[in-house]
């Protein structure tokens, strides 16, 4: 490790030297810096990833996540070309240090293919990150989905290397990893449970989204804390120019979106909300017992942003969502709340900073009906606080230095079960709260050191601390508690820390062909106590501790990215190999709920995943889409599980194909189709049975040794716009989920044959056959 550090620092110094010698021949002359924002001229929405090219030089930059850019230019008059897909290019002449606000006008529809100015340049300035995928709400909205509920997480599952954890679920696995190894961020707030209605729908409302990015392993140095992926969801800022809105009604939910300026070009707001309403019809049901039942979810996003001046900008984003279920026997409700405050500050034309404060909460409540004397109420709460500061220092075109730090305070109350009735017989069970601090500091540097080579190096240092009040347990070899140690408030009783190096290189083999290689290490300090493949609301997160070491992952990827001459096709192939240590698994038949000594159920191990991903995208005026293919082998070994032998990850899908195609049939009508295929998920099936105590007991040979039937499914959708065009007026979406009615197995169980008498038969449970749906959205 020490060698590695030494090498790394040496490497950094070398780069700096290179940069000083080569890239700045004009030191001492009047170099000047142009910085500013690029936005949509119609709505004032900041454009993220717009290219800024210096005409004639082949160099340039792109706008960051806040639409900010900064570029250092050599003396004299220069022409900057601004480009963004779907917008008319803009040129500006600059000759001295200035702040620019560039407004770009969206391309009128149905124009023939237009070459975007500086596109060749834009390709070459693309980041050197591997395995980065980006989706916009417009393409997410075109994908056919279950019950017409547009869902960014379902769209993500169409990308290579990503698939649903189980049928219909918005929960996803990346390269065979566990779902809790994905970091889900919404405006920089961590979302700990992204599922509504037992995971069939996600908490991310497409109406509120600006774009979604998924990093599949080569994380930016600023992010860490998870092994598999970072899903970064950015919400829109809201229209700065005029009020607008939309209202939608679908099979299960209705939606409302309102946005507009608070002060034109200075401040705006955005509100989106949706609620399912199946239960609103319950009072009409013939069965009177159903009248008081409840089953719904809602979520709301609220965002405000204020441009105080050229140098200061403020954002406030809030999310509130909840699921409510109630019948005569039980009550269940759960949901997330997040609040993020961000302050963008331009310290100098080349130094951009963002300060963030986040408050997040996930909680659930579970109870029996209120009438019983032995009524039970169970509450659990996860509170999260984060403060962060991120700086970008734009040294020269394509040479950026980033650094920053963030600190989290996690406070988890895993469960408190009470009988609210005074005469309750129930014993109160309260699991002790656990608190922890998680810090990360990073530096990263990227530079195009030659016309054909761009390098990116990053180093993240993370520190994790368990903070009292709390309890920790000592376990013997049989995982029995031998000692309990209590800590008083504020005690830091355990720490872990480590370096997380990241590095990548892009080699521009030709203007249309790029090779990329990257290495990335991450550490995960907090994990979900779950061994099921479906998401449930009853999440128990538990942190690293004296007994639980942090999980680590090292991943190497190598990829080749190509583009056809006319820009219609883009192809990529990416190989990856990933090694993980101290991975978490659970013993056979673990007790994960309301268990104070949950750490005694954990078995530590190793995991590894390797494979490759192919992706071909095409994009013409009428016809666009992609074909993705993944080959994956993802294995684990843990404690005494499976007699200590390696077993497959429950998400090991050897072959995974996803096809998405979108065809514009007429000016107002477009058709889309999805097709998904993957090798059946590994399962454990019995190899025998025996009888004890009058009960049949199955006998198994090895964990995940068999597979479910292969999964495949075809979906269609058809979108029809009203005559008033895409921006205003109505839009009908018809969709057909599982068009050929494939009965994909969700679970396999064994039952006694009720008709014949052939003994035990295998029975599959499938959730959805053909599901048609329709929704209507009106924009105003």
């Amino acid at each position: 490790m020490t060698n590695f550090k030494f090498f790394f620092i040496f490497f950094l110094l070398f780069l700096q030297y290179q940069a000083t010698v080569k890239a700045r021949p004009n030191v001492g002359e009047d170099v000047f810096t142009v910085s500013g924002y690029v936005k949509d001229g119609a709505t004032g929405e900041m454009l993220v990833g717009a290219s800024v090219i210096v005409r004639g030089s082949g160099t340039g930059t792109v706008t960051n996540v806040y639409g900010f850019f900064s570029i250092e230019l050599s003396p004299g008059e220069q022409i900057l070309q601004f480009g963004f897909l779907g917008y008319q290019p803009v040129e500006r002449i600059v000759s001295q240090t200035t702040h620019l606000t560039v407004e770009m006008i969206p391309q009128p529809e149905l124009l023939e293919e237009v070459t975007i100015a500086g596109e060749e340049g834009a390709v070459s300035v693309r980041s050197s990150l591997l395995g980065l995928e980006r989706l916009e709400p417009s393409s997410i909205g075109r994908m056919p989905v279950l019950m017409g509920e547009t869902d960014p997480l379902k769209a993500i599952q169409m990308l290579p290397g990503v698939s649903a954890t189980s049928e219909g679920s918005s929960n996803f696995t990346v390269r065979g990893g566990n779902p809790d190894q994905n970091l889900l961020l919404m405006d920089e707030a961590i979302v700990y449970n992204a599922g509504h209605l037992l995971g069939f729908f996600s908490v991310f409302n497409n109406d509120a989204i600006k774009y979604v990015e998924l990093y599949k392993g080569d994380f930016p140095a600023s992010e860490g804390g998870r092994l598999s992926s970072v899903l970064d969801v950015h919400t829109r800022d809201g229209n700065m120019k005029q009020f607008q809105g939309s209202a939608g009604i679908g099979l299960i939910s209705s939606r409302l979106n309102l946005e507009g300026p608070i002060k034109k070009n200075k401040a705006s707001f955005l509100f989106t909300g949706r609620r399912t309403y199946a239960d609103l019809f319950l009072p009409l049901a013939s069965d009177e017992e159903l009248h008081d039942n409840q089953l719904y979810f809602y979520d709301t996003n609220f965002k405000m942003n204020w441009i105080a001046d050229e140098k200061n900008r403020f954002f406030l984003s809030a999310y509130l969502g909840r699921d409510v279920f109630r019948d005569e026997m039980a009550r269940l409700n759960f949901g997330n709340r997040t609040l993020s405050l961000r302050w963008n500050r331009v310290f100098s034309p080349s130094l951009f900073a963002n300060f963030t404060f986040v408050r997040g909460q996930y909680d659930y409540f579970l109870g029996t009906s209120e009438t019983d004397i032995d009524d039970m109420e169970w509450v659990s709460e996860f509170n999260d606080y984060m403060f962060g500061a991120d700086f970008s220092w734009f040294l020269a075109p394509e040479k950026t230095f980033r650094f920053g730090a963030r600190s989290f305070f996690h406070s988890i109350a895993p469960g408190d079960v009470t009988g609210p009735d005074e005469n309750s017989f129930l014993k109160e069970v309260e699991l002790p709260q656990n608190n922890s601090l998680e810090h990360g500091a990073y530096v990263s540097y990227s530079n195009r050191i030659a016309s054909w080579l761009k390098l990116r190096v990053g180093l993240r240092y993370s520190l994790f601390q368990n903070v009292g009040p709390g309890k920790s347990f000592r376990f013997d070899d049989a995982y029995e508690v031998t000692d309990t140690i209590s800590y008083s408030s504020g005690d830091i009783f355990n720490s872990y820390h480590g370096l997380e190096p990241r590095a990548g290189a892009s080699v521009f083999l030709s203007p249309r062909l790029t090779a990329k290689i990257s290495y990335s290490r991450t550490r995960q300090y907090i994990q979900l106590a779950s061994n099921s493949t479906s998401s449930t609301p009853l999440d128990v997160w538990f942190p690293a501790s004296p007994n639980v070491k942090p999980q680590t992952s090292d991943q190497v990827s190598l990829g080749l990215f190509g583009k056809s001459r006319n820009g219609v096709f883009e192809h990529s192939i990416e190989f990856f190999n990933k090694w993980m240590e101290n991975t978490i698994d659970f013993k056979d038949h673990p007790d994960l709920l309301l268990n104070e000594t949950i750490e005694g159920e954990v078995r530590f191990g190793k995991a590894w995943a390797r494979g490759f991903e192919l992706m071909s995208k095409w994009n013409t005026d009428r016809f666009s889409g992609w074909v993705g293919y993944t080959f994956l082998k993802s294995e684990r070994v843990a404690g005494g599980i499976n007699n200590g032998k390696p077993f497959l990850s429950p998400y090991d899908h050897t072959h995974d194909v996803s096809v998405f195609a979108d065809y514009r049939l007429a000016s107002r009508v477009s058709l889309s189709a999805n097709w998904v295929y993957y090798t059946g998920s590994p399962v454990t099936l019995p190899v025998g049975r025996f009888d004890v105590g009058g009960t049949m007991v199955p006998l198994y040979s090895q964990r995940n040794g068999e597979r479910m039937p292969d999964y495949h499914r075809l979906d269609f959708s058809c979108i029809i716009h009203s005559k008033r065009g895409k921006e205003k007026g109505g839009e009908w979406v018809f969709s057909l989920y599982n068009a050929y009615g494939r009965k994909n197995a969700w679970a396999i169980n064994f039952v006694n044959d009720e008709e014949g008498d052939s003994g035990i038969r295998a029975e599959k449970t499938y959730l959805f056959s053909v599901v048609p749906s329709v929704s209507y959205t009106f924009k105003f």
Binding site: A330, S369, M376, H589, G688, G694, V697, K764
Partner: protein
């Protein structure tokens, strides 16, 4: 934690009402035949027996074939008792009349002179179980639960404070065991009782739905409370969990239940002590039920 299981089942039922089930053909592999031991030795002067059988292919529609002709010995470290196979019930090995085990002792079961794997060489299997003590319950009571259509059996009991204890509860109605199967057992750890005291804790249930025979005035309800080992507690828990079905929602991967028989045999040999509390069903109790219906 019974409530928890109930709630999970309810949530799952709502969930599954979306789903449909269909038979599929599945080729399962079959493991080699294994010896299955199902043995319970109690502190009572009752018929004590151990049942021996073989494991079968999972989809097999036959009952587990009994293992006959084995030599079955039970030892408490001083005395060795031979269990003899019952004439009319193959595979059942019975202790001589009046044999009762004593709490505080450990019992070793030895099964030999059997050839399960059919290689012509006889195998031998062992299992050891300690027999824990059990205190007598103070009293029990019944409470009707209308929404779950059952009588809840409530327990009053003082748990010895210094030891870590595990209990098994079964119900007898007019002297007949009605919670016969492992799936109907209740097992708890003493952590279940607050400060070592059970004040009306719900420990067992009597079905009161339409299919069940209703309780009559004068019926005697008996709660059997047994002191069991932690290993047997884990075994019962695992068997119950395996019986609940596999759904991705709440269950993790299925796994073998942890037995205590050596040499790769399946099943469990347990020794447990027994105590009882009775209740005679009164007219008032039945009236309470009718009022709550």
């Amino acid at each position: 934690m019974k409530q928890l299981v109930f709630i999970i089942n309810i949530v799952m039922a709502v969930f599954l009402s979306w789903g449909c089930a269909e038979y599929i053909d599945l080729d399962l592999e079959t493991s080699d035949q294994k010896l299955v031991v199902d043995g319970m030795i109690t502190s009572e002067r009752h018929i004590q027996y151990v049942r021996l059988s073989r494991s079968v292919a999972f989809m097999d529609d036959t009952v587990s074939p009994p293992v006959s002709g084995a030599r079955v010995l039970l030892s408490d470290g001083y005395n060795v008792e031979t269990l003899r196979e019952a004439n009319e019930m193959a595979g059942f090995y019975v202790a001589k009349n009046g044999f009762a085990a004593t709490p505080g002792n450990s019992y070793e079961l030895t099964v030999s002179e059997v050839d399960i794997d059919g290689d012509g060489v006889e195998e031998s299997y062992q299992a050891i179980s300690y027999m824990p003590h059990v205190n007598k319950p103070d009293s029990i009571d019944l409470l009707f639960d209308a929404s779950w259509e059952m009588w809840k059996v409530l327990l009053w009991f003082n748990d010895p404070p210094d030891s870590e204890d595990y209990y098994l509860f079964r119900v007898l109605l007019n002297g007949t065991l009605i919670s016969e199967r492992i799936s109907e057992f209740t097992v708890v750890s003493d952590r279940f009782f607050e400060n070592g005291r059970a004040d009306g804790v719900w420990v067992q249930s009597i079905n009161a739905n339409e299919e069940a025979e209703p309780l009559q005035e004068g019926d005697v309800v008996t709660l059997q409370m047994c002191g069991i080992t932690e290993a047997y507690f884990d075994f019962v828990k695992s068997v119950q969990r395996e019986g609940r079905g596999q759904y991705p929602l709440f269950s993790g991967p299925p796994a073998n239940v942890p037995g205590n028989i050596s040499n790769g045999a399946l099943g469990f040999f347990t020794a447990f002590s027994v105590s009882y509390a009775n209740l005679v069903v009164s007219a008032g109790l039945l009236e309470e039920k009718n009022n709550s219906d």
